[in-house]
């Protein structure tokens, strides 16, 4: 079973790579654009009793292109005293982390970029590369606000990496594998007390883990209430203060694309990925080809729906809450989230052995 088998041909290696790169670009940019339009432009506006962009295209749907055009035209300024090379590289590092993340996400039985056994491990490792990029941006900007923002970001992202890892471990224990594709298959083929109507999404047993994961994701994405590194009313814009034009756009895309990718990963780990809730039409273990081919088309759609719901919640929280203070945020991670997730792991392990 090769990846991209949906295209139905054994392509040469370069063509496969090209397709993967294109697919990756689509998988990153399409959700990012949709999220920005649907949630940042529209949902936020509705929550603030206004209509948001209405002029560019029907209901302002072309606004994003206008914005991108505007950013591309702007001058690429770097401060005189900035460390130019690092300053320019930083946004790319952040975006790279997003692209690397999407590489392990399975969209369907055969629709994935790579399929390897340490998927969860890889995902957690790669997601912290963005911390590096943010720290680089903060240091190299030669701006006190950026520096404060960068340091806050580093502290925060490391603190919230831990609960994220720990909350995922529960799922890994239950599934018995670290392969993301296998986790999805497992959730689809398991049954709830003999009833296999909707498979067995792990949110049912790992509810606490899911909650912790989503909180950690919120922090990892530096969205309100965890947006200390950006904190536009205190640190102006934190590590992004000195960026303009194209490089700011990259930060912007990375922010929302990462939100989408994390939502995808959450839906894989806890909500049954591309399968659930459609196992009722006769889910057979992966490999039976008629269903596989259907799911290769339906799976990405299911994933997209789940992603939209989850990012919707992320954004909803973002638009409603004020932000934490830095020390409160650290205290919350170390004194609440980590102990709770450790307890969760323990209980999961005991139950796994017991049943």
């Amino acid at each position: 079973m090769t990846s991209l088998a949906i295209f139905g041909a054994d392509l040469p290696y370069w063509a496969q790579s090209l397709l993967r790169v294109l697919g990756g670009a689509v998988a990153v940019l399409l959700p990012a654009g949709t999220i920005v339009y649907l949630f940042l432009f529209k949902m936020m506006s509705f929550m603030q009793s206004r209509l948001g962009p209405m002029e560019a295209g029907p209901y302002g749907s072309m606004q994003l292109f206008a914005e991108v055009g505007k950013w591309l035209q702007k001058e690429d300024i770097s401060p005189t005293r900035a460390d130019k090379r690092v300053f320019r590289a930083a946004p790319l590092v952040v975006l790279m982390s997003t692209f690397l993340l999407v590489a392990v996400v399975p969209f369907g039985p055969d629709a994935y970029f790579t399929d390897f056994d340490a998927g969860v491990f890889y995902m957690l490792a790669v997601s912290s590369i963005s911390t590096l990029g943010i720290l680089m941006a903060g240091w190299s900007s030669a701006n006190k606000y950026s520096l404060l923002g960068g340091l806050r970001a580093a502290g925060q992202l490391i603190a919230y990496e831990l609960p994220m890892v720990l909350s995922v471990i529960g799922v890994v224990i239950q599934a018995g594998t670290m392969n993301l594709q296998q986790i999805v298959v497992k959730q689809n083929s398991d049954e709830i007390f003999g009833w296999n109507g909707i498979g067995f999404p792990y949110i049912l047993t790992q509810g606490i883990g899911f909650l912790i994961f989503m909180i950690a994701v919120q922090a990892e994405l530096t969205q309100t209430p965890f947006d200390m590194p950006i904190a536009e009313s205190e640190l102006v814009s934190g590590y992004m203060t000195e960026y303009s034009g194209f490089r700011f756009l990259i930060f912007f895309i990375a922010e929302f694309a990462t939100a989408g990718v994390f939502a995808l990963i959450a839906s894989i780990l806890f909500l049954g990925g591309w399968g659930v809730p459609f196992s009722w039409f006769g889910w057979a273990p992966a490999g039976s080809h008629e269903i596989d081919n259907w799911m290769n088309v339906g799976g990405p759609l299911i994933m997209l729906t789940k992603m939209m719901v989850l990012t919707g919640i992320i954004m909803w929280v973002r638009f409603s809450y004020p932000r934490f203070r830095e020390d409160q945020l650290q205290r919350f991670a170390w004194k609440v989230l980590i102990p709770v997730s450790l307890v969760n792991i323990m209980i999961t392990a005991v139950l796994k052995v017991a049943f």
Partner: protein, 170 residues
């Protein structure tokens, strides 16, 4: 005992969701956004709104009271004396002040309304018209013809609230 408390975090989410529902509700049912899409829809300003000053040139005697009372001196008046035909046949010709120039610089005007108040001959009026922005700041200097055109937009003074003393004459 007090009622079981909903956590404030959930209440906050409820408020934003409620506002979203209100915005998405069709206009007929009393919903809709608080904003208007400006160039397409317009809000009518109130009758008393101080939008632009209109000039009734015939009433002006170029007495300069308005120009002197303006806090930032944005009114420019020039005039000359002219002989007008006498009121009654056989009388001596009257001297009238003829207005040559009456400019208001809206780039300077702070819309305080003192000139309108101070005018003893009812030559200046407020109009609620507000759409006269210009690409060039020099074009904000309205001369007397332009100020005269604003007269068409001057509304009737509104009825007063119950209990108010009726104005005598004027």
């Amino acid at each position: 005992m007090q009622k079981p408390r909903i956590p404030g975090l959930l209440k906050g989410l409820g408020v934003t969701f409620g506002t979203m529902a209100q915005t998405l509700k069709p206009k007929k049912l009393g919903g809709g956004a608080a904003t208007v899409q400006y160039p397409r829809e317009k809000e009518t300003p109130t009758v008393r709104a101080r939008g632009v000053i209109a000039l009734r040139e015939d009433n002006c005697t170029s007495c300069m009271l308005c120009a002197r009372s303006c806090p930032d001196w944005c009114i420019y008046i020039e005039g000359h004396k002219e002989l007008a035909p006498p009121r009654r046949a056989g009388g001596a010709p009257r001297k009238v002040n003829k207005l040559d120039r009456f400019d208001i610089d809206y780039a300077l005007c702070m819309y305080c309304g003192i000139c309108v108040d101070v005018c003893p001959f009812d030559a200046l009026f407020w109009s609620p018209e507000y759409e006269y922005s210009e690409p060039k700041i020099a074009d904000l200097l309205h001369d007397k013809t332009k100020l005269g055109e604003w007269m068409e937009t001057v509304p009737e003074a509104p009825e007063l609230e119950a209990g108010a003393e009726k104005k005598k004459g004027k």
